[in-house]
């Protein structure tokens, strides 16, 4: 099976083949091949991984993998061809979602307003802290889905920013 693994902003093509024993795999990456042995440890989320004898504790985290306690943002997808995708600039509308459940304290923008990437759009309060949520891209605010004083759930849509034309 060929995978495209994106670690932070770097991409790797990883070829994985099941080995003789359960949990053992042959892996080819960047032209070199390695024996990988994976074994569940401590419940469902933590694994012991031996890569050619080197030992790692691997955990699945909310946004990637953790290796020996260090976090790596990771995405894995089946790769059909050998070509690497360039990390392109999306022209889709960006949907700002609540990163945490909380209370919308203030909204700094109005519908139709032009904003720059990184510009604060609204303030959400949770865990005794107020946080500025910033625009994921430059463009025009096409939708404000919440109001100040409203409680929001994790992942709830807050604001949509689209290409300005």
């Amino acid at each position: 099976m060929r995978y495209l693994a994106t670690i932070a902003d770097r991409q790797f093509v990883v070829e994985v083949q099941a080995g003789a024993r359960p949990g053992s795999y042959a892996v080819v990456m960047n032209g070199s091949s390695q024996m990988v042995d994976i074994e569940p440890a401590s419940g469902d989320w933590l694994y012991s991984m031996l890569i050619d004898g080197r030992s790692f504790t691997v955990a699945a985290t909310p946004d990637g993998v953790q290796l020996d306690g260090k976090d790596f943002a990771a995405r894995v997808q089946r790769s059909l061809g050998p070509a690497l995708q360039a990390p392109g600039v999306s022209s889709e509308p960006a949907r700002l979602q609540a990163p945490i459940p909380g209370l919308v304290v203030a909204i700094h923008v109005t519908a139709g307003q032009e904003v720059l990437e990184g510009e604060p759009l609204l303030v959400v309060e949770a865990m005794k802290m107020q946080m500025d949520l910033k625009s994921p891209r430059s463009g025009k605010v096409t939708q404000i889905a919440v109001a100040a004083g409203q409680e929001v759930a994790h992942g709830q849509l807050l604001v949509v920013v689209d290409e300005s034309k």
Binding site: A8, V14, D44, V65, G69, P99, M127
Partner: protein, 504 residues
Amino acid sequence: MQAGSPRSFRKILVANRGEIAVRVIRTCREMGIPTVAVYSDVDRAALHVRLADEAYSIGPAPADQSYLRGEAILEVAERSGAEALHPGYGFLSENAGFARACRDAGLAFIGPAPEAMALLGDKLEAKRAVARRGVPLVPGTDEPVEDEAQLRKDAARIGYPLLIKAAAGGGGKGIHAVERPEDLEAALRLAQGEAQAAFGDRRVFLERLLHHPRHVEVQLLADQHGNYVHLGERECSVQRRHQKLIEESPSPVVTADLRQRMGEAAILAAREAGYTNAGTVEFLLDEAGQFYFLEVNTRLQVEHPVTEWVTGRDLVRDQIRIAAGEELGFGQADVTWRGAAIECRITAEDPDLNFLPFTGRVQELVEPSGPGVRFDHMLYPGAEVTRYYDSLLGKLVVWAGDRAAVLRRMERALGELHVIGLKTTIPFHAWAMSHPAFRAGELHTSFIDENWQPGAGSADLSDVAAIAAAVLEFHRGARPSRNGTQEDPPSRWKLAARARIHSS
């Protein structure tokens, strides 16, 4: 209780939650004193509820409907027959009115008398009080001022850069830095306007802005018989949002002589306020080695375990003994320090996203252990971290023979600690322990702002991470997870990754 000690309390109510409630319950159990826990609806399964002898609900999740409801807590104390109350930190711990209400209800408040708490709670009044004993203050005005001409004169005397602080302020709010004389007027107007709006009081005061100061605090114990000892200092300079993340004892720069002088100054301050029980006197220490009084924390500090490691004392036990009227039973000459200790606060925050708090559920917990490791926490598999309380999950505290060994030990322990399901400060701490300036002890309150970069906590193992992620994907696809599929890790994983990309 040990034989020969006077009668202690028959039952103690712990008016807090999280790791500090657990901490207090542990010592009570060791002293043979039954404990009463209180909990809000979302804390029914919390560790402090499990570990206490009794537990009672005090209301819904929001703190102002539960942990801040003094009357509900006093009612539980009455119903359960508690003789004393330990407030922990935060919530009602520095509320003099609540301490008074406890006293009126015949309940021993494990902390200072309400009068001392009220005096020290007023920052300017506290400064005037300690100044009477000759404790050094950061140069500044010692009275709130409205008159602009006077402020200009004071500013010239104090020198630049300086800080304008709202007299009625607190919690880091209403503070403005002024770099040059020509900026003073505009900053004053802004600060006074803000102070009026935020606190209904336009008065401000001025303080010199120290360059790269260290935050160093002294732990005190004072009994009700006039005995005072200090247990040395804690260096707490590494902060984000004016909140500490790493604390250690001894400070890398405090000599035995400086320790003695700061300890004596702290005791003078406490004596002036008539302070009893455990307390902490906070100082700023400038690059020239001069220290300045900041404030007194009239409660147990989050970071008290580093002092417990190096001095060999149990501060909660001392607090309870003092509140029960016992004498300290030891003097300054009996306090000895051994080795070095450091604490890393493990919080539910994403260090790569400006320490944004993170809520969720603990899927798996792997705790570090071995020599010199203590992990005071509120975690268990299945624990929910909600948005209602602060983000502190636990405190990893380690001890070793010297500072170099303690940093390596902390690195080792951080590597063994896994809190699966949440973003935490673990990678940040691992980075800090190996940072050259940190290792050299070159600490100051801007350390994080000046040095931390998102992503710095990920070592250069991207290639291994790629292999791990791909094999994990294959392996998990190939065989069902051990405990069924109620929450399938890979899909939650991808969902969260998408959410993060949109919110960052």
